[in-house]
């Protein structure tokens, strides 16, 4: 018994993954609006017929890149917080894992945080859904912190929106803060109002 041959579906899936990995930096570098299908064909080293057998078009290809990045980010967050039951620590580690991923792979970050906003209604909806999940996740922190009940009801919405805009500006600007700087600055503004400065201080020095 040896290696079995790939089925047609497996081959297509493999090829799709390969193309997605290659074209993600193209969307990030050229921008969604300026990227053409020809750019994708050249970078993905794929023929036009093959491309359209894998994707419905440029937008569909972009959505596949977006999904790959968001799944990767989610997996990194889950890996960093696996087995951690304390909300405060989970929140800090999850935020740090996401920011470290985005700093390590700015192309991936740009796909989700910047280009999704101009890549059609479906991409915008998926981007907004990620922000909605982040708002819900941050809101969970109020349960274990009675003092956070006094925060304005819009606190989580404002914090997540502010973080998203700040990350966009970092990605669009020439200056890029390090992951450590980003974690330090944003955890203070997002988590400290919920968990308090003492608790955040203990988490950051662990």
């Amino acid at each position: 018994m040896g290696e079995r041959a790939m089925t047609r579906a497996e081959l297509a899936s493999h090829q799709r993954d390969r193309v997605i990995a290659k074209v993600t930096p193209v969307f990030a570098k050229r921008g969604y609006l300026a990227t053409t299908v020809d750019d994708l064909l050249a970078t993905g080293k794929i023929g036009v017929g093959n491309f359209y057998s894998l994707f419905d078009g440029k937008e569909d290809c972009f959505l596949a890149c977006f999904d790959r990045v968001s799944v990767e980010a989610q997996e990194r967050i889950e890996s960093a917080t696996e087995g951690v039951t304390d909300w405060d620590r989970r929140a800090y580690l999850g935020l740090a894992a996401m920011l470290e991923y985005f700093c390590a792979d700015p192309s991936a970050a740009r796909i989700v945080m910047v280009e999704a906003q101009c890549a059609g209604s479906e991409a915008t909806a998926r981007y907004n859904a990620i922000l909605d999940r982040a708002v819900a996740w941050l809101s969970d922190g109020r349960q274990g912190h009675p003092e956070a009940a006094e925060l304005p009801p819009s606190f989580e919405q404002a914090s997540v929106s502010g973080l998203a805009f700040y990350l966009q500006q970092c990605l669009l600007a020439a200056r890029r803060p390090s992951a450590a700087e980003l974690i330090s600055e944003t955890s203070g503004l997002l988590l400290e109002p919920i968990i308090g400065s003492d608790r955040l201080g203990r988490l950051t020095h662990r």
């Binding site: 921008g31 609006l33 929106s161 502010g162 944003t186 503004l189």
Partner: protein, 213 residues
Amino acid sequence: MSPPARPKAESLLAEPIADAVLATIHEYGYAEASVGEFVRRAGMTRTEFDARFSGKREVTALILEAHLDRFQERVGRAYAIADDWPDNLRAAAYETARCILENPDATWFLMVGVLEVDDMLRARRDQFFVWGAELIDGGRAAAPDPAAIPDSASLLAIGAIVETIRRRRAAGVEHDVARNLPKFMYTAVRPYLGEEAARAELTIELPPDLRSS
């Protein structure tokens, strides 16, 4: 042949073409919006349009620029009237709300529509928001410990309002700008003056014209 004379930004906003362009883009999206539809709505001929603008991109950019100039002039003037921070920031926030309420299509374009044009116009839009962040960062001089405030504080604060409005507008939902002003002030003031001063912002009544909006 000399290039067509560029219209002055402020006077452009008084012309029917300004509203026609934004209303068309709002209805169809930038990619599908056509010069033919612009001129039909504005009641001008294609020849008149071509004599003044090089095309869809240019007229759109000029209108964006004109609105940003007007917003910046009004908000900057309001900020300059009050001496102390956050009184001046609050005055600027009230004037921003008036600009938004008076110009719904321009606000939609600034928040959502411009993102579908190109990176240069997006950069111009973001430059405007960074200017707004600088007004917020005026709080650094009023803060008890300016060095302790992260550089990102003002961008996080302006982003809170920009992204919230963008998301609502993208979903076709009107954002109650006036009602949310005290919450915006809370977000902007907190990093600089602390929780107590930020909470005080939640209790300050809106000016009468914004209360009834």
